[in-house]
């Protein structure tokens, strides 16, 4: 029986929520993530930056009709990390490897 180590970047409530949302959509604005996670703008912004620094997210800042817009997209590295995290979780949920 072997427990795989859970990625510390993803093993946090808000960061995991953000990555789970972004894995399901092509791209999303900051407002979408804020609305779905019910997080505060400040906290969400900090966690998005951590994910960006880890190379898990691509973050683009632009203007749309004079309003600032932050668009987030999961990267290939982010997808691999998420898949690895889910696989590692499975070793905890099913330690004997039974399906």
């Amino acid at each position: 029986m072997e427990f795989k180590e859970l990625d510390p970047i993803l093993h946090s409530q808000l960061r995991l929520a953000v990555v789970s949302l972004l894995i399901s959509v092509r791209e999303a604005e900051f407002t979408f993530l804020k609305e779905k996670t019910n997080a505060t703008a400040g906290n969400l912004s900090v966690q998005i930056n951590k994910l960006k620094d880890a190379g898990y997210l691509d973050v683009t800042k632009q203007f749309n009709n004079n309003y600032p817009q932050t668009i987030c997209k999961i990267t290939k590295k982010g997808i691999e990390a998420f898949e690895g995290y889910v696989k590692a979780l499975q070793t905890y949920m099913n330690p004997n490897g039974q399906s």
Binding site: Q13, A17, L21, V25, T37
Partner: protein, 194 residues
């Protein structure tokens, strides 16, 4: 939601919840389906009346489809300014519908050049494809039924005259877009009120 560590069970629950929230975020309000349903219904019925009552307005009524692109672009701009995410399904669907639109335009040019008989049957076949795919992708039964109806009408149209085929086209527009569009629109209004 705060910066807290999770147990393995909580992680799994959170992933499932967020994926579910993201998947349930995309809603079409049905206006594009209503627009194209109305345009094709009107053009088919109008051409039927032209043939039935022997009159000619001097231009092909089907060019109205190009005019309908103006409100379509307006609707697209309006919805994209409101939207704060883009799903994979939505992106795929936009490619399917643009491919369909390009095919319809090419067919129209082909028909105006060669004037083949029973070309409206091919339109019916074409109408069914994106409708069926959209219905299947979003598990929206009225569009799946609409797509299948178009294909049934295609088979019927092989054995009927041009005049009857125009009525079949109107029926296809009703079943594939107008009725599903109205159902979607009503659903959207209901959800907005809740």
């Amino acid at each position: 939601m705060s910066e807290v560590k999770l147990t393995e069970n909580e992680s799994l629950k959170l992933i499932t919840e967020m994926i579910g929230k993201a998947k349930g975020s995309y809603h079409s309000n049905g206006t594009s389906a209503i627009l194209w349903g109305l345009v094709i219904f009107f053009c088919s019925i109008f051409e039927f009346f032209e043939m039935q009552f022997n009159f000619d307005i001097g231009f092909n009524i089907w060019w109205l489809m190009f005019v309908a692109l103006v409100p379509q672009f307006y609707l697209m701009l309006k919805s994209s300014s409101k939207k704060n995410f883009e799903s994979y399904e939505e992106k795929t669907m936009s490619f399917v519908w643009w491919a369909f639109a390009a095919s319809v335009v090419m067919m129209m040019f082909f028909n105006s050049y060669y004037r083949p008989s029973h070309s409206e049957s091919l339109f019916l076949m074409l109408f069914g494809m994106p409708t069926f795919i959209t219905g299947g992708m979003f598990r929206f039964k009225p569009m799946i039924i609409g797509g299948i109806t178009c294909w049934i009408l295609f088979v019927v149209s092989i054995y009927t005259s041009l005049k009857i085929n125009l009525l079949l086209m109107a029926l296809a527009a009703l079943s594939a877009w107008l009725v599903p569009g109205i159902i979607l629109h009503k659903k959207c209004i209901r959800e907005a009120q809740q």
